[in-house]
Symmetry: C2
Protein backbone atom coordinates (compact mmCIF):
# COMPACT_ATOMS: atom_id res chain seq x y z
CA UNK A 1 0.00 0.00 0.00
CA UNK A 2 3.04 2.29 0.24
CA UNK A 3 2.87 2.97 -3.48
CA UNK A 4 -0.90 3.36 -3.74
CA UNK A 5 -2.13 6.87 -4.49
CA UNK A 6 -5.78 7.85 -4.52
CA UNK A 7 -6.46 10.29 -7.33
CA UNK A 8 -9.24 12.52 -6.16
CA UNK A 9 -10.92 12.46 -9.59
CA UNK A 10 -12.07 8.93 -8.71
CA UNK A 11 -14.43 10.52 -6.18
CA UNK A 12 -14.89 13.75 -8.09
CA UNK A 13 -17.49 15.38 -5.86
CA UNK A 14 -15.94 14.40 -2.51
CA UNK A 15 -14.74 17.57 -0.79
CA UNK A 16 -10.95 17.87 -0.45
CA UNK A 17 -11.09 17.86 3.34
CA UNK A 18 -13.03 14.61 3.25
CA UNK A 19 -10.58 13.11 0.76
CA UNK A 20 -7.74 13.89 3.16
CA UNK A 21 -9.59 12.59 6.24
CA UNK A 22 -10.75 9.53 4.34
CA UNK A 23 -7.25 8.67 3.16
CA UNK A 24 -5.85 9.03 6.67
CA UNK A 25 -8.62 6.82 8.06
CA UNK A 26 -7.85 4.09 5.50
CA UNK A 27 -4.09 4.26 5.91
CA UNK A 28 -3.57 5.73 2.43
CA UNK A 29 -0.34 7.71 2.20
CA UNK A 30 -0.53 9.35 -1.23
CA UNK A 31 -3.02 11.42 -3.19
CA UNK A 32 -3.25 12.72 -6.73
CA UNK A 33 -4.89 16.14 -6.81
CA UNK A 34 -6.69 18.33 -9.36
CA UNK A 35 -6.24 22.05 -9.72
CA UNK A 36 -9.89 23.11 -9.48
CA UNK A 37 -10.71 21.57 -6.08
CA UNK A 38 -7.33 22.70 -4.75
CA UNK A 39 -7.96 26.27 -5.92
CA UNK A 40 -11.45 26.18 -4.46
CA UNK A 41 -10.09 25.23 -1.05
CA UNK A 42 -7.12 27.54 -1.38
CA UNK A 43 -3.73 26.42 -2.69
CA UNK A 44 -1.60 27.10 0.39
CA UNK A 45 -4.30 25.95 2.75
CA UNK A 46 -4.66 22.72 0.78
CA UNK A 47 -0.89 22.18 0.75
CA UNK A 48 -0.74 22.66 4.54
CA UNK A 49 -3.71 20.37 5.18
CA UNK A 50 -2.31 17.56 3.07
CA UNK A 51 1.15 17.92 4.62
CA UNK A 52 -0.17 18.01 8.16
CA UNK A 53 -2.17 14.87 7.47
CA UNK A 54 1.07 13.15 6.51
CA UNK A 55 0.01 12.67 2.90
CA UNK A 56 2.24 12.96 -0.14
CA UNK A 57 0.92 14.54 -3.33
CA UNK A 58 1.96 12.31 -6.23
CA UNK A 59 0.68 14.39 -9.15
CA UNK A 60 -1.36 17.41 -10.06
CA UNK A 61 -3.84 17.38 -12.96
CA UNK A 62 -3.72 19.14 -15.24
CA UNK A 63 -1.80 21.44 -17.49
CA UNK A 64 -1.55 21.33 -21.26
CA UNK A 65 -4.26 22.40 -23.73
CA UNK A 66 -1.64 24.24 -25.74
CA UNK A 67 -4.30 25.58 -28.10
CA UNK A 68 -5.86 27.79 -25.41
CA UNK A 69 -5.14 31.53 -25.58
CA UNK A 70 -3.65 31.70 -22.10
CA UNK A 71 -1.78 28.38 -22.28
CA UNK A 72 1.58 29.80 -21.24
CA UNK A 73 0.39 31.69 -18.16
CA UNK A 74 -1.92 28.91 -17.16
CA UNK A 75 0.74 26.22 -17.41
CA UNK A 76 3.25 28.38 -15.53
CA UNK A 77 0.70 28.77 -12.75
CA UNK A 78 0.15 25.01 -12.74
CA UNK A 79 3.88 24.41 -12.33
CA UNK A 80 3.95 26.82 -9.38
CA UNK A 81 1.00 25.02 -7.84
CA UNK A 82 2.89 21.74 -8.11
CA UNK A 83 5.84 23.31 -6.31
CA UNK A 84 3.62 24.57 -3.49
CA UNK A 85 1.89 21.21 -3.11
CA UNK A 86 5.12 19.25 -3.39
CA UNK A 87 3.71 17.38 -6.39
CA UNK A 88 6.59 15.97 -8.44
CA UNK A 89 4.59 15.74 -11.68
CA UNK A 90 2.21 17.96 -13.61
CA UNK A 91 0.00 15.85 -15.86
CA UNK A 92 -0.43 17.43 -19.30
CA UNK A 93 -3.50 16.88 -21.45
CA UNK A 94 -2.06 18.39 -24.58
CA UNK A 95 -5.17 19.52 -26.48
CA UNK A 96 -6.86 18.49 -29.71
CA UNK A 97 -6.68 19.69 -33.30
CA UNK A 98 -8.47 23.01 -32.83
CA UNK A 99 -8.63 23.45 -36.61
CA UNK A 100 -5.04 22.43 -37.25
CA UNK A 101 -3.74 19.32 -38.96
CA UNK A 102 -2.45 16.56 -36.71
CA UNK A 103 1.17 17.45 -37.54
CA UNK A 104 0.60 21.14 -36.87
CA UNK A 105 -1.15 20.45 -33.59
CA UNK A 106 1.68 18.17 -32.48
CA UNK A 107 4.22 20.84 -33.40
CA UNK A 108 2.31 23.24 -31.18
CA UNK A 109 2.60 20.78 -28.29
CA UNK A 110 6.35 20.49 -28.90
CA UNK A 111 6.67 24.28 -28.89
CA UNK A 112 4.65 24.47 -25.68
CA UNK A 113 6.93 21.98 -23.95
CA UNK A 114 9.98 23.95 -25.10
CA UNK A 115 8.54 27.10 -23.55
CA UNK A 116 7.58 25.38 -20.27
CA UNK A 117 10.63 23.19 -19.73
CA UNK A 118 12.80 25.91 -18.12
CA UNK A 119 10.04 26.78 -15.62
CA UNK A 120 9.49 23.14 -14.80
CA UNK A 121 13.18 22.53 -14.31
CA UNK A 122 13.52 25.56 -12.06
CA UNK A 123 10.58 24.40 -9.95
CA UNK A 124 11.81 20.78 -9.84
CA UNK A 125 8.56 19.61 -11.40
CA UNK A 126 8.33 17.01 -14.16
CA UNK A 127 5.99 17.76 -17.05
CA UNK A 128 4.14 14.49 -17.57
CA UNK A 129 2.83 14.24 -21.15
CA UNK A 130 -0.21 12.00 -21.12
CA UNK A 131 -0.88 9.93 -24.22
CA UNK A 132 -4.66 9.75 -24.34
CA UNK A 133 -6.86 7.20 -26.04
CA UNK A 134 -7.14 7.95 -29.78
CA UNK A 135 -10.88 8.52 -29.41
CA UNK A 136 -9.88 11.84 -27.79
CA UNK A 137 -7.36 12.83 -30.48
CA UNK A 138 -9.58 15.43 -32.17
CA UNK A 139 -10.76 17.27 -29.09
CA UNK A 140 -8.46 16.52 -26.14
CA UNK A 141 -5.04 15.20 -27.00
CA UNK A 142 -3.24 14.86 -30.31
CA UNK A 143 -0.74 12.84 -28.30
CA UNK A 144 -2.43 9.46 -28.71
CA UNK A 145 0.32 6.90 -28.21
CA UNK A 146 3.20 6.29 -25.84
CA UNK A 147 5.51 6.43 -28.87
CA UNK A 148 4.22 9.92 -29.69
CA UNK A 149 4.62 11.06 -26.09
CA UNK A 150 8.17 9.70 -25.87
CA UNK A 151 9.12 11.56 -29.05
CA UNK A 152 7.98 14.79 -27.44
CA UNK A 153 10.03 14.01 -24.31
CA UNK A 154 13.22 13.14 -26.19
CA UNK A 155 14.82 16.61 -26.25
CA UNK A 156 14.68 16.92 -22.44
CA UNK A 157 16.08 15.16 -19.40
CA UNK A 158 13.59 12.70 -17.89
CA UNK A 159 13.44 14.83 -14.74
CA UNK A 160 12.01 17.71 -16.80
CA UNK A 161 9.69 16.03 -19.31
CA UNK A 162 8.29 12.54 -18.89
CA UNK A 163 5.05 10.70 -19.53
CA UNK A 164 1.88 10.06 -17.58
CA UNK A 165 1.08 6.45 -18.32
CA UNK A 166 -2.59 5.61 -17.80
CA UNK A 167 -3.56 2.03 -18.59
CA UNK A 168 -6.99 3.18 -19.81
CA UNK A 169 -5.46 5.20 -22.60
CA UNK A 170 -2.73 2.87 -23.85
CA UNK A 171 -3.76 -0.73 -23.12
CA UNK A 172 -4.83 -1.47 -26.73
CA UNK A 173 -1.41 -0.61 -28.22
CA UNK A 174 0.72 -3.62 -29.11
CA UNK A 175 3.79 -1.36 -29.04
CA UNK A 176 3.29 -0.21 -25.46
CA UNK A 177 5.00 -2.98 -23.46
CA UNK A 178 8.31 -2.89 -25.38
CA UNK A 179 8.26 0.92 -25.19
CA UNK A 180 7.78 0.77 -21.42
CA UNK A 181 10.65 -1.70 -21.16
CA UNK A 182 12.97 0.67 -23.03
CA UNK A 183 11.86 3.90 -21.34
CA UNK A 184 11.26 3.25 -17.65
CA UNK A 185 13.02 6.46 -16.65
CA UNK A 186 10.43 8.51 -18.59
CA UNK A 187 7.49 7.35 -16.45
CA UNK A 188 6.66 10.40 -14.35
CA UNK A 189 3.22 9.22 -13.34
CA UNK A 190 1.58 5.79 -13.49
CA UNK A 191 -2.19 5.57 -13.33
CA UNK A 192 -4.58 2.64 -13.36
CA UNK A 193 -8.07 2.57 -14.83
CA UNK A 194 -9.93 -0.10 -16.73
CA UNK A 195 -11.55 -0.22 -20.16
CA UNK A 196 -15.17 -1.24 -19.68
CA UNK A 197 -17.81 -1.88 -22.32
CA UNK A 198 -20.21 -0.74 -23.53
CA UNK A 199 -18.90 2.80 -23.81
CA UNK A 200 -21.43 5.19 -22.29
CA UNK A 201 -23.01 8.09 -24.19
CA UNK A 202 -20.32 10.35 -22.75
CA UNK A 203 -17.16 8.34 -23.37
CA UNK A 204 -15.16 10.57 -21.05
CA UNK A 205 -16.79 9.14 -17.94
CA UNK A 206 -17.08 5.46 -18.70
CA UNK A 207 -13.91 4.07 -17.17
CA UNK A 208 -13.82 1.32 -14.59
CA UNK A 209 -11.98 0.47 -11.40
CA UNK A 210 -9.01 -1.80 -12.11
CA UNK A 211 -10.21 -5.36 -12.62
CA UNK A 212 -13.71 -4.54 -13.85
CA UNK A 213 -12.87 -4.44 -17.56
CA UNK A 214 -10.50 -5.58 -20.29
CA UNK A 215 -7.09 -4.26 -19.25
CA UNK A 216 -4.45 -6.83 -18.38
CA UNK A 217 -3.10 -5.10 -15.25
CA UNK A 218 -0.77 -7.87 -14.20
CA UNK A 219 1.16 -7.53 -17.43
CA UNK A 220 1.28 -3.72 -17.18
CA UNK A 221 2.41 -3.58 -13.59
CA UNK A 222 5.10 -6.18 -14.22
CA UNK A 223 6.33 -4.28 -17.28
CA UNK A 224 6.51 -0.99 -15.41
CA UNK A 225 8.29 -2.66 -12.49
CA UNK A 226 10.74 -4.42 -14.79
CA UNK A 227 11.49 -1.07 -16.45
CA UNK A 228 12.74 0.19 -13.09
CA UNK A 229 9.83 2.41 -12.08
CA UNK A 230 9.50 2.45 -8.30
CA UNK A 231 7.20 5.44 -7.87
CA UNK A 232 3.59 5.75 -6.80
CA UNK A 233 0.75 3.95 -8.53
CA UNK A 234 -2.36 6.09 -8.78
CA UNK A 235 -5.85 4.86 -9.35
CA UNK A 236 -7.74 7.49 -11.34
CA UNK A 237 -11.14 6.51 -12.67
CA UNK A 238 -13.61 8.79 -14.45
CA UNK A 239 -16.89 7.02 -13.91
CA UNK A 240 -20.21 8.79 -13.60
CA UNK A 241 -21.55 5.89 -11.52
CA UNK A 242 -18.71 6.03 -9.00
CA UNK A 243 -19.11 9.81 -8.77
CA UNK A 244 -22.71 9.44 -7.64
CA UNK A 245 -21.70 7.36 -4.62
CA UNK A 246 -20.32 8.31 -1.17
CA UNK A 247 -16.59 9.11 -1.35
CA UNK A 248 -15.60 6.90 1.58
CA UNK A 249 -17.22 3.93 -0.11
CA UNK A 250 -15.49 4.75 -3.41
CA UNK A 251 -12.14 5.01 -1.64
CA UNK A 252 -12.56 1.61 0.01
CA UNK A 253 -13.58 0.02 -3.26
CA UNK A 254 -10.60 1.65 -5.00
CA UNK A 255 -8.20 0.26 -2.40
CA UNK A 256 -9.69 -3.21 -2.83
CA UNK A 257 -9.39 -2.98 -6.62
CA UNK A 258 -5.77 -1.82 -6.31
CA UNK A 259 -4.89 -4.67 -3.98
CA UNK A 260 -6.49 -7.19 -6.26
CA UNK A 261 -4.66 -6.12 -9.42
CA UNK A 262 -1.36 -5.71 -7.56
CA UNK A 263 -1.61 -9.28 -6.33
CA UNK A 264 -2.24 -10.40 -9.91
CA UNK A 265 1.16 -8.89 -10.74
CA UNK A 266 2.99 -10.48 -7.80
CA UNK A 267 5.75 -13.03 -8.40
CA UNK A 268 3.46 -15.80 -7.08
CA UNK A 269 1.07 -15.23 -9.96
CA UNK A 270 3.79 -14.96 -12.60
CA UNK A 271 3.05 -17.07 -15.61
CA UNK A 272 -0.65 -17.28 -14.84
CA UNK A 273 -3.15 -15.69 -17.12
CA UNK A 274 -4.44 -12.58 -15.38
CA UNK A 275 -7.93 -12.73 -16.76
CA UNK B 1 -15.06 9.31 -60.77
CA UNK B 2 -13.41 6.23 -62.31
CA UNK B 3 -11.92 5.33 -58.94
CA UNK B 4 -14.96 6.09 -56.80
CA UNK B 5 -16.65 3.10 -55.24
CA UNK B 6 -19.91 3.27 -53.32
CA UNK B 7 -19.80 0.94 -50.34
CA UNK B 8 -23.33 -0.23 -49.78
CA UNK B 9 -22.97 0.07 -45.99
CA UNK B 10 -23.25 3.84 -46.48
CA UNK B 11 -26.93 3.26 -47.36
CA UNK B 12 -27.34 0.20 -45.21
CA UNK B 13 -31.07 -0.38 -45.72
CA UNK B 14 -31.17 0.33 -49.46
CA UNK B 15 -32.01 -2.92 -51.27
CA UNK B 16 -29.19 -4.32 -53.41
CA UNK B 17 -31.21 -3.97 -56.62
CA UNK B 18 -31.73 -0.28 -55.86
CA UNK B 19 -28.04 0.18 -55.05
CA UNK B 20 -27.16 -1.23 -58.46
CA UNK B 21 -29.79 0.81 -60.32
CA UNK B 22 -28.86 3.94 -58.38
CA UNK B 23 -25.17 3.56 -59.16
CA UNK B 24 -25.88 3.06 -62.86
CA UNK B 25 -28.13 6.13 -62.89
CA UNK B 26 -25.43 8.27 -61.29
CA UNK B 27 -22.61 6.98 -63.48
CA UNK B 28 -20.92 5.16 -60.60
CA UNK B 29 -18.78 2.26 -61.86
CA UNK B 30 -17.74 0.50 -58.65
CA UNK B 31 -19.42 -0.86 -55.54
CA UNK B 32 -18.24 -2.30 -52.24
CA UNK B 33 -20.59 -5.06 -51.06
CA UNK B 34 -21.45 -6.80 -47.80
CA UNK B 35 -22.05 -10.49 -47.38
CA UNK B 36 -25.46 -10.35 -45.68
CA UNK B 37 -27.35 -8.36 -48.35
CA UNK B 38 -25.60 -10.36 -51.07
CA UNK B 39 -26.63 -13.63 -49.43
CA UNK B 40 -30.16 -12.38 -48.99
CA UNK B 41 -30.46 -11.61 -52.71
CA UNK B 42 -28.57 -14.75 -53.66
CA UNK B 43 -24.85 -14.84 -54.33
CA UNK B 44 -24.85 -15.88 -57.99
CA UNK B 45 -27.90 -13.78 -58.79
CA UNK B 46 -26.19 -10.76 -57.18
CA UNK B 47 -22.96 -11.40 -59.06
CA UNK B 48 -24.86 -11.60 -62.35
CA UNK B 49 -26.89 -8.47 -61.65
CA UNK B 50 -23.83 -6.42 -60.77
CA UNK B 51 -21.90 -7.70 -63.78
CA UNK B 52 -24.78 -7.08 -66.18
CA UNK B 53 -25.08 -3.54 -64.87
CA UNK B 54 -21.44 -2.99 -65.80
CA UNK B 55 -20.38 -2.48 -62.20
CA UNK B 56 -17.14 -3.69 -60.65
CA UNK B 57 -17.11 -5.04 -57.09
CA UNK B 58 -14.13 -3.48 -55.31
CA UNK B 59 -14.36 -5.31 -51.97
CA UNK B 60 -16.49 -7.62 -49.91
CA UNK B 61 -17.08 -7.06 -46.20
CA UNK B 62 -16.39 -8.95 -44.13
CA UNK B 63 -14.40 -11.89 -42.93
CA UNK B 64 -12.28 -12.17 -39.82
CA UNK B 65 -13.61 -12.59 -36.26
CA UNK B 66 -11.05 -15.30 -35.65
CA UNK B 67 -12.46 -15.94 -32.18
CA UNK B 68 -15.73 -17.35 -33.53
CA UNK B 69 -16.20 -21.13 -33.42
CA UNK B 70 -16.78 -21.46 -37.17
CA UNK B 71 -14.17 -18.92 -38.21
CA UNK B 72 -12.38 -21.21 -40.67
CA UNK B 73 -15.45 -22.36 -42.56
CA UNK B 74 -16.97 -18.93 -42.52
CA UNK B 75 -13.86 -17.24 -43.87
CA UNK B 76 -13.41 -19.90 -46.54
CA UNK B 77 -16.99 -19.25 -47.65
CA UNK B 78 -16.28 -15.52 -47.70
CA UNK B 79 -13.26 -16.07 -49.97
CA UNK B 80 -15.41 -18.13 -52.33
CA UNK B 81 -18.03 -15.38 -52.35
CA UNK B 82 -15.34 -12.87 -53.34
CA UNK B 83 -14.33 -15.11 -56.22
CA UNK B 84 -17.92 -15.42 -57.46
CA UNK B 85 -18.47 -11.64 -57.21
CA UNK B 86 -15.11 -10.80 -58.73
CA UNK B 87 -14.20 -8.84 -55.60
CA UNK B 88 -10.42 -8.57 -55.39
CA UNK B 89 -10.34 -7.99 -51.61
CA UNK B 90 -12.01 -9.54 -48.58
CA UNK B 91 -12.04 -7.03 -45.72
CA UNK B 92 -11.18 -8.68 -42.40
CA UNK B 93 -12.43 -7.40 -39.06
CA UNK B 94 -10.16 -9.53 -36.94
CA UNK B 95 -12.09 -9.78 -33.67
CA UNK B 96 -11.56 -8.56 -30.11
CA UNK B 97 -10.01 -10.05 -27.00
CA UNK B 98 -12.72 -12.60 -26.25
CA UNK B 99 -11.12 -13.30 -22.87
CA UNK B 100 -7.57 -13.49 -24.18
CA UNK B 101 -4.69 -11.09 -23.62
CA UNK B 102 -3.92 -8.67 -26.44
CA UNK B 103 -0.84 -10.68 -27.43
CA UNK B 104 -2.75 -13.97 -27.41
CA UNK B 105 -5.59 -12.50 -29.44
CA UNK B 106 -3.14 -11.12 -31.99
CA UNK B 107 -1.46 -14.51 -32.23
CA UNK B 108 -4.83 -16.02 -32.99
CA UNK B 109 -5.27 -13.53 -35.85
CA UNK B 110 -1.84 -14.46 -37.20
CA UNK B 111 -2.75 -18.15 -37.05
CA UNK B 112 -6.04 -17.43 -38.81
CA UNK B 113 -4.27 -15.64 -41.65
CA UNK B 114 -1.84 -18.53 -41.99
CA UNK B 115 -4.75 -20.95 -42.34
CA UNK B 116 -6.62 -18.77 -44.85
CA UNK B 117 -3.75 -17.59 -47.03
CA UNK B 118 -3.61 -20.71 -49.25
CA UNK B 119 -7.35 -20.47 -49.96
CA UNK B 120 -7.09 -16.76 -50.71
CA UNK B 121 -4.15 -17.29 -53.03
CA UNK B 122 -5.92 -20.09 -54.87
CA UNK B 123 -9.00 -17.90 -55.33
CA UNK B 124 -6.94 -14.85 -56.36
CA UNK B 125 -8.47 -12.86 -53.49
CA UNK B 126 -6.48 -10.56 -51.21
CA UNK B 127 -7.17 -10.78 -47.49
CA UNK B 128 -7.41 -7.15 -46.39
CA UNK B 129 -6.63 -6.82 -42.68
CA UNK B 130 -8.42 -3.74 -41.39
CA UNK B 131 -6.79 -1.83 -38.55
CA UNK B 132 -9.76 -0.50 -36.59
CA UNK B 133 -9.91 2.45 -34.26
CA UNK B 134 -8.51 1.51 -30.82
CA UNK B 135 -11.91 2.15 -29.24
CA UNK B 136 -12.92 -1.16 -30.86
CA UNK B 137 -9.84 -3.10 -29.68
CA UNK B 138 -11.60 -5.04 -26.91
CA UNK B 139 -14.67 -6.15 -28.84
CA UNK B 140 -14.04 -5.92 -32.60
CA UNK B 141 -10.41 -5.79 -33.64
CA UNK B 142 -7.23 -6.30 -31.71
CA UNK B 143 -5.56 -4.97 -34.86
CA UNK B 144 -5.69 -1.28 -33.96
CA UNK B 145 -2.91 0.35 -35.97
CA UNK B 146 -1.57 0.23 -39.49
CA UNK B 147 1.76 -0.87 -38.01
CA UNK B 148 0.06 -3.82 -36.36
CA UNK B 149 -1.76 -4.75 -39.57
CA UNK B 150 1.44 -4.54 -41.63
CA UNK B 151 3.22 -6.83 -39.20
CA UNK B 152 0.50 -9.42 -39.74
CA UNK B 153 0.88 -9.06 -43.54
CA UNK B 154 4.65 -9.37 -43.57
CA UNK B 155 4.92 -13.16 -44.01
CA UNK B 156 2.82 -13.09 -47.20
CA UNK B 157 3.00 -11.61 -50.68
CA UNK B 158 0.98 -8.38 -50.97
CA UNK B 159 -1.36 -10.09 -53.43
CA UNK B 160 -2.38 -12.56 -50.71
CA UNK B 161 -2.51 -10.46 -47.52
CA UNK B 162 -2.79 -6.67 -47.48
CA UNK B 163 -4.54 -3.99 -45.48
CA UNK B 164 -7.90 -2.26 -45.66
CA UNK B 165 -7.05 1.35 -44.92
CA UNK B 166 -10.04 3.32 -43.63
CA UNK B 167 -9.33 6.95 -42.76
CA UNK B 168 -11.86 6.82 -39.91
CA UNK B 169 -9.85 4.19 -38.09
CA UNK B 170 -6.30 5.47 -38.56
CA UNK B 171 -6.39 9.28 -38.98
CA UNK B 172 -5.26 9.97 -35.39
CA UNK B 173 -2.01 7.99 -35.73
CA UNK B 174 1.09 10.12 -36.27
CA UNK B 175 2.85 7.05 -37.67
CA UNK B 176 0.32 6.40 -40.41
CA UNK B 177 1.55 8.66 -43.23
CA UNK B 178 5.16 7.41 -43.19
CA UNK B 179 3.87 3.82 -43.01
CA UNK B 180 1.66 4.41 -46.04
CA UNK B 181 4.62 5.90 -47.90
CA UNK B 182 6.71 2.79 -47.23
CA UNK B 183 3.97 0.21 -47.87
CA UNK B 184 1.85 1.32 -50.81
CA UNK B 185 1.81 -2.18 -52.29
CA UNK B 186 0.04 -3.49 -49.17
CA UNK B 187 -3.06 -1.33 -49.65
CA UNK B 188 -5.69 -3.79 -50.79
CA UNK B 189 -8.65 -1.53 -50.06
CA UNK B 190 -8.84 2.23 -49.40
CA UNK B 191 -11.93 3.61 -47.70
CA UNK B 192 -12.93 7.12 -46.74
CA UNK B 193 -15.03 8.14 -43.73
CA UNK B 194 -14.77 11.10 -41.41
CA UNK B 195 -14.34 11.42 -37.64
CA UNK B 196 -17.20 13.53 -36.34
CA UNK B 197 -17.84 14.71 -32.80
CA UNK B 198 -19.57 14.30 -30.47
CA UNK B 199 -19.44 10.53 -30.57
CA UNK B 200 -22.99 9.14 -30.42
CA UNK B 201 -24.22 6.72 -27.75
CA UNK B 202 -23.44 3.87 -30.15
CA UNK B 203 -19.95 4.76 -31.34
CA UNK B 204 -20.15 2.20 -34.15
CA UNK B 205 -22.59 4.31 -36.15
CA UNK B 206 -21.32 7.85 -35.67
CA UNK B 207 -19.07 8.31 -38.70
CA UNK B 208 -19.43 11.12 -41.19
CA UNK B 209 -19.26 11.61 -44.94
CA UNK B 210 -15.79 12.81 -45.98
CA UNK B 211 -15.43 16.50 -45.26
CA UNK B 212 -17.91 16.69 -42.39
CA UNK B 213 -15.40 16.04 -39.60
CA UNK B 214 -11.79 16.17 -38.50
CA UNK B 215 -9.93 13.95 -40.97
CA UNK B 216 -7.44 15.66 -43.26
CA UNK B 217 -8.43 13.86 -46.48
CA UNK B 218 -6.19 15.87 -48.78
CA UNK B 219 -3.14 14.67 -46.92
CA UNK B 220 -4.34 11.05 -46.87
CA UNK B 221 -5.25 10.85 -50.53
CA UNK B 222 -1.94 12.44 -51.53
CA UNK B 223 -0.02 10.01 -49.32
CA UNK B 224 -1.82 6.99 -50.75
CA UNK B 225 -1.29 8.27 -54.32
CA UNK B 226 2.37 8.98 -53.67
CA UNK B 227 2.77 5.45 -52.33
CA UNK B 228 1.73 4.16 -55.75
CA UNK B 229 -1.81 3.03 -55.00
CA UNK B 230 -3.97 3.40 -58.11
CA UNK B 231 -6.96 1.29 -57.08
CA UNK B 232 -10.51 2.19 -56.19
CA UNK B 233 -11.41 4.64 -53.43
CA UNK B 234 -14.47 3.55 -51.49
CA UNK B 235 -16.64 5.73 -49.37
CA UNK B 236 -17.99 3.65 -46.50
CA UNK B 237 -19.79 5.52 -43.75
CA UNK B 238 -21.62 3.98 -40.80
CA UNK B 239 -24.02 6.72 -39.78
CA UNK B 240 -27.42 6.07 -38.25
CA UNK B 241 -28.64 9.40 -39.62
CA UNK B 242 -27.62 8.59 -43.20
CA UNK B 243 -29.21 5.17 -42.87
CA UNK B 244 -32.59 6.70 -42.08
CA UNK B 245 -32.64 8.61 -45.39
CA UNK B 246 -33.52 7.56 -48.98
CA UNK B 247 -30.65 5.67 -50.60
CA UNK B 248 -30.62 7.70 -53.82
CA UNK B 249 -30.18 10.88 -51.80
CA UNK B 250 -27.39 9.28 -49.73
CA UNK B 251 -25.62 8.15 -52.91
CA UNK B 252 -25.74 11.65 -54.43
CA UNK B 253 -24.45 13.18 -51.22
CA UNK B 254 -21.69 10.58 -51.04
CA UNK B 255 -20.60 11.37 -54.60
CA UNK B 256 -20.53 15.09 -53.79
CA UNK B 257 -18.47 14.47 -50.65
CA UNK B 258 -16.05 12.28 -52.60
CA UNK B 259 -15.62 14.92 -55.33
CA UNK B 260 -15.01 17.60 -52.75
CA UNK B 261 -12.28 15.77 -50.85
CA UNK B 262 -10.66 14.52 -54.06
CA UNK B 263 -10.39 18.09 -55.31
CA UNK B 264 -8.77 19.06 -51.99
CA UNK B 265 -6.08 16.49 -52.82
CA UNK B 266 -5.58 17.65 -56.43
CA UNK B 267 -2.25 19.18 -57.51
CA UNK B 268 -3.96 22.61 -57.74
CA UNK B 269 -4.64 22.58 -54.02
CA UNK B 270 -1.21 21.26 -53.06
CA UNK B 271 0.28 23.23 -50.22
CA UNK B 272 -3.06 24.59 -49.11
CA UNK B 273 -4.47 23.63 -45.75
CA UNK B 274 -7.38 21.29 -46.34
CA UNK B 275 -9.46 22.40 -43.40
Amino acid sequence: MDRFSFNQATAKYWPLTDVVDGCVAEGVRNVGLWREPVAEYGLRRAAAMVREAGLTVTSLCRGGFFGADDWLDDNRRAIEECAVLGAPALVLVCGGLAGRTLAEARDRVAAGLAALAPYAEAADVTLAVEPMHPMFAADRSVVATLAGALELCAPYPASVVGVALDTYHVWWDEAVLPLIAANGERIACFQLADWVLPLPADVLVGRGLPGTGHVDFGQFIKAVDAAGYTGPIEVEVFDANLWSRPGAEVLRETIAAYRSVMSSASPQSAGQAVR
